[in-house]
Symmetry: D2
Subunit: 476 residues, 4 copies
């Protein structure tokens, strides 16, 4: 089956799915301007695969059948495969103006985790589902984070048992699930949703240890799209977010039936934890891969606007630039190192080194806010006091703006870079990037915990302790 | 003359001023929803003065005439007066939901600077203008920052001489000025604008060493209101910024005539520098005073949402809270100390201690982004993935949201706090607060420079050097 | 009774106390060079009191009797008294070359805490002991920190019950105590030791809830002086530590009998906690007061050595200087604010504001290591590669050094400042200052916890929460 | 010629060199205890080469002759060679208890730079000298940093022309040089010294553009060993520095004659700059390689002492451990990446990627002081208040110490780890490590500058700017 076109993708989204936006049901996602932006953004993945310049990276060939498929679906078997995956995600996100497309990355992160962790029947079902997605060139979202209620209590101890997605019934045909997931990215414009447990489950929470996949257009499944970042936008004021956007949903399972061939994990508490963690490790590697264009834009934005303001040679500006370079290139080097240090896991599937992946993500996340400050410092107050697109469209007003907003270059160039920086750091997309830095693909606290675990698992802790004991003379 | 009411204030703004917004001329500022929000916000100053609970702080009595006037106009004569001014600004900003009103603070900052720096005829004119503003209870903006063009060049060396406001003509009646200022806050909804030089001027830039005041509705003066933060807002999604807003303008002087009695400084390069600096020192004290409600909201927001999420007892949350408290209360303590260490300057006018004021501002500015991270960390990803106001208004959808967004409290309370934090840190108001932290009232670099200067001026440098020489044995 | 002279003080230390240093018993502390340095250092307190330039600050007059006594013993009754105490500690420490004398500060911190917390008989005993110390102009140490064993267990659950000092017997005459305290500063050269509980005690640890005082020369009490920082020193290489030093002991109570009139607290678990905390709050204020000369030396050292190296005008040097000034003056401002915000506690005794005291200490502690880096960066590698005092004493070698170590000034001046900085940051005294920053007078973690508590206790938490609830619309 | 033994190395140092220590001339370095420690430390390099466990890493075979030589002399031809070199330096330093041996590393850093930068006759001489050092298994030091005088002036503008090493005469036989270098590590215990220019030279400083090598025992060459870190040490109190030590000298060239075959660069200002830079880039890679054992000891030390104190499970301890792991493993990952990204330079000699090398060094240097704080925080105040070795040797006192200094383990183990941490961070070796972090192998400021240069040189700047221009719409 050939790869789908962008229009194939768009058309398939009109399938009767239960979708809500701004307080109303949505019949055709392509007809709602805010949502259409996200669909067109995601469609870039399909356009890239058709672009001769990028086919090598974006399209893979199945060695058994010779059939072409999206390279996102290529199961990594080596560090080089992981590097290629990093480059593909980098490319897709760069094309998306620093916004990841996320209709293939996250789905394959989940699929690779399923294919590694599962055994037996579960594995067969996951393999079949993997082929289904790959061969039909599908867009796949992942719902992992439960709404969680009171975070001090485990799933079964919540006032309402539905605050984590759980099995409420089962029969020969399949299972019935209820509950809700939040922060589900791209589900509104995906074909399929994979549902994973949010964390390891205890013995009292067996009904919550469940993983499965359903088409978005499934009875009982409703998606409530967040209004964040919606509303009118303008190509002058928001050069990126007027064209690139992700949709986030509250994803509600109201007694959704899942046939057995779509149930990957059922009441296996131990595997639930490993699955959750394995997915997150792949997904963190995806994360640092898709941060690279944003980091380049921070460095490039700071350098460009400083030049345009006429301050590029000031000592404190060069100081900030050197810090931004150290930050951005540091994340890049660690991301590459995570791939190069990649290992071969269960069933011969490669995965990026967990220690290095978490260091890359942690370095990104903990440095992000300071980087925003440096970038905004290089730019100036005009980030939040500049003219509107409508001002710029009015020729009389534009003449005034052109006269007075010139710097070491013409006003138009300077305002374009200023607006880019404003879009990336000081408006809704900026807020989205910032909150993602702190919370997406695991919080900073989760990354710290994982680094400690990985440092023990990879022998680093043993090495450091043994060495310290030796030079302290403990073993004499 | 009695104090004006909020409606008096609103009505006076419809005076034929040349105002542009979103590409179009504005006839009545009160009729444009985005702008009306700012007018109503600023009008809080007038409402506070009428509120019996706050009269003591908000209304002062002229000792000579017994007339009441806004306490913002009270010339500080002692540290206690400075403390009262701090409290008044804190109160006004708290009422404004963390957004300063800035129709009195900045104007009086400029007036105090003029009354201190000027002598002779200039001083008499400034005194007359001060009484005019005070006795008519006027709203006063200040235009200081020139558009500046290429920042590596002084005013006269710019390609276009108008990139700093300058005198282009003068006669017996007055002077004619041309050029533009940017980042002029509240000018669109003020009665008068005071224009100050942006910095010390060299001998080649004498025409740029000019300070004056004009009514906003003056021929040749045009205000272009920034579109930033405009557009539809919603009381659910933006609990603060839907009600509180500042307007920023590009303020263009196209051969504006200024009569001599409104010209305070004319081609005095040396005084221009002192005036610029003196204004900024008052204004930095205003700045740290008006940051206090925002700091309280950061601490309170983090504590509340952590409690509502059920994570208040987690070690890392308590760690972040303790850091937020140290940050917020540190700025508060330094702000108070700046007042308590206040000194008496020229003409018996008190001013906050420059070293301490700059330390307070520097502490605020350099800690702000990290504080945002801590706050967002306590809150969660829902900051940018939550439901819209329209969702909340729809009873069927609200039922779903109420079920699934509850935490350790009901969903409505939790979403309200979440949306507050989102408004303050992850949407346009958040971007505005952040860029202001870096750039408003002087940049971080300017604060560093001023601290070094103040440390020398106040004898601290001499003390430290003498002591160090002594214990190094240098003077033996 | 008149104030003692420095020689009186020295002579009184030869009293048969059980003192050990470098593996041997010490008969006369004044005869052991390493220890003599500490005695002479502490004696500065007595010399200051005789110095006409400092009598106003260093000597107080008892209002009842008219007798003079060391001003350290003046019970603070107002913020001004606290400010004076801060100045006295600052002066003493400055005289001590950045090393606090600590034979009066800590003892009076403990006495003030006892006089505030105790009631009834305990209070009467404490008052009598206070008068004894004051009227005899004694040097008083405080032993608070128990050796603690396994920190994960409370006192009674330790393998060895003696790991916290506890009551092992009692009769009509008094109590018998056993156990050990560590980090006991200045005990070796003090007249008396006050023993306080290290923390709040539970009901199972009643025997550990004990406070008392004994002369250092008491049967069963042995002091083991740490060897840290001992050995040969040299006035050229260690301009400060060759003359100024503190002694730290392991303080062992081997069935020490304490008569009832020296027992202040006995098996009162609740008061033990309050006493421990109250002492620490006074002691933290002492701490930030005695850090001020060190902070001045950091700023002055960085400025002087940069000038001497010929790099004072480099942008990055000015950046570091501005940060050092912000740091040092920030701690100073908060310390003053802690006094100015001082409150009146039990029995009319004033105490510095706990929130502000902890902020000052926290600001000092968390900024210290970065400050060392900035200072060392300004100085250069010569901090650890410079010539020895013996080199300098050899005329032929000195000629070479004078030729080659000159900077923008002569070599001698430059090396003196270099050696001062090395002594303060890169040798044993530097290590001592650093570890004290992290651990002395309570750890950084303890300061965080106290800030949260103080913020609740002083109404700040209520203010922030109420305000946040209001602007979030929670109470509508 | 076979590899030398450690004793061969020691014996060869007694060669009549002009060496001064503690104000006196040294006839035999092996007879002065302080210096002997350094010789024995350096001799570890020779012992390692004889150790069967390490021969693979420590000994290389010349492909042309089949002769064995120290692997330090192996000219890197590939990333793998660079990785091996990193491992060898790591091994040598680990054996040296976190102290690099530096009798081979720095010399070969200089040799590789000479072999890459030179051409023609200069190159031939460098090759001959390289073979001389390699085939005779010599210890080689490098003198690069001039004493510099007033750093605001170039060499020729100094009051004394000798403040940078320069050519004062030349004839058919060779050149005569005068001046002094400082911070010359290991020169006192090396066989040969390579002298490199400290930086690029201008046309007025041609006499200063000189590179050459001389035996340490050369007429006119005098070494003045720094007294830093000397004096009595104790294996209990200083488990590392009592056995491992580097010597730093002021290295004075008093009209030293250098024959032409030892002159590599003579009055070539342009090549001087490239040579200085190329050496530093190799040397920074050496630096990050030799930091790895210290980083392991920081992590291991923090983990061990926390366990021994009984606080390993405390949240804030785990937080600090995770930060230490992120720091140490981050430097390690970047160091490896610098090798893996290594390139082939002039004459086929490989070099580590400059951008990544500088990032590794910058990450190390800017994180070091915070890491020390975390480590000391985990350990406790006992770092500077603990017992002396003499105390420990006295059986009666030891019994007391064993009783009272036990933690969750026996006192001896705990004190050994405590003393290790004290040695590494709070005594002279700690100060040495810290100052080295800031200044050795180039300062932090130099690393920032190099990162900006490398980012431009490697195309990163172009990539970031192009991408930013694209998404800003600048090229539309």
């Amino acid at each position: 089956m050939p790869l789908r076109t962008a229009d194939d993708y768009r058309a398939a989204l009109v399938d009767g799915r239960s979708l809500y936006y701004q307080g109303a049901a949505v019949a055709d996602i392509n007809q709602v301007p805010d949502l259409r932006v996200a669909v067109d953004h995601a469609a870039l993945d399909y356009e890239l695969a058709e672009d001769p310049r990028h086919r090598d990276l974006a399209v893979a060939v199945d060695l058994e059948t010779g059939a072409e498929h999206s390279a996102y679906y290529k199961i990594p078997r080596s560090p080089d495969d992981l590097l290629d995956r990093c480059r593909l995600i980098d490319l897709g996100t760069a094309t998306g103006g620093t916004v990841v497309t996320l209709i293939h990355e996250i789905g394959t992160d989940a699929l690779f985790a399923l294919l590694r962790i599962l055994e037996g029947e579960g594995l067969e079902r996951a393999e079949a589902f993997y082929r289904h997605c790959r061969d039909n060139d599908l867009a796949v979202a992942v719902a992992q984070t439960d709404v969680k209620g009171d975070r001090s209590k485990p799933p079964h101890a919540q006032d309402d048992p539905d605050l984590y997605v759980h099995i409420v019934d089962q029969n020969d045909e399949g299972i019935v699930v209820r509950g809700a997931k939040c922060h589900t990215t791209s589900s509104a414009n995906a074909d399929e949703i994979i549902v994973l447990p949010t964390r390891a489950m205890g013995e009292d929470d067996l009904d919550y240890a469940v993983a499965f996949a359903v088409p978005v257009a499934t009875e009982g499944l409703s998606l409530y799209v967040s209004g964040y970042g919606g509303g009118d936008s303008n190509a002058f004021e928001q050069p990126v977010s007027s064209k690139h956007k992700l949709l986030e949903t509250l994803t509600v399972f109201d007694d959704v039936f899942v046939p057995w061939d779509r149930v990957f994990l059922c009441r296996d508490a131990e595997a639930a934890g490993r699955l959750a963690l394995t997915f997150v490790e792949y997904h963190r590697f995806t994360a640092v891969s898709y941060k690279l264009p944003l980091l380049d834009a921070f460095i490039g934005g700071a350098a460009l606007i400083a030049e345009m303001n006429g301050v590029a040679r000031a000592g404190h500006i060069r100081d900030k630039l050197s810090h931004l370079v150290a930050y951005g290139e540091g994340v890049r080097a660690l991301t590459e190192a995570a791939a190069i240090r990649g290992r071969i896991g269960e069933h011969g599937i490669a995965y990026p080194d967990p220690m290095t992946t978490n260091m890359a993500k942690f370095t990104f996340a903990t440095g992000f806010f300071q980087a925003v400050e440096w970038l905004q410092d290089c730019a100036g107050g005009l980030l939040v006091t500049g003219p509107s697109g409508a001002d710029w469209e009015n020729p009389e007003i534009r003449a005034v703006l052109e006269k007075y907003f010139k710097g070491a270059v013409d006003a138009e160039s300077r305002l374009k870079v200023m607006n880019l920086i404003s879009d990336l750091t000081a408006q809704d997309l900026g807020g989205y990037h910032a909150v993602l830095a702190v919370h997406a693909e695991g919080s900073i606290e989760a990354e710290k915990m994982q680094m400690l675990r990985a440092f023990t698992a990879n022998g680093g802790a043993e090495r450091a302790l043994t060495y310290t004991r030796r030079i302290a003379g403990l073993d004499e």
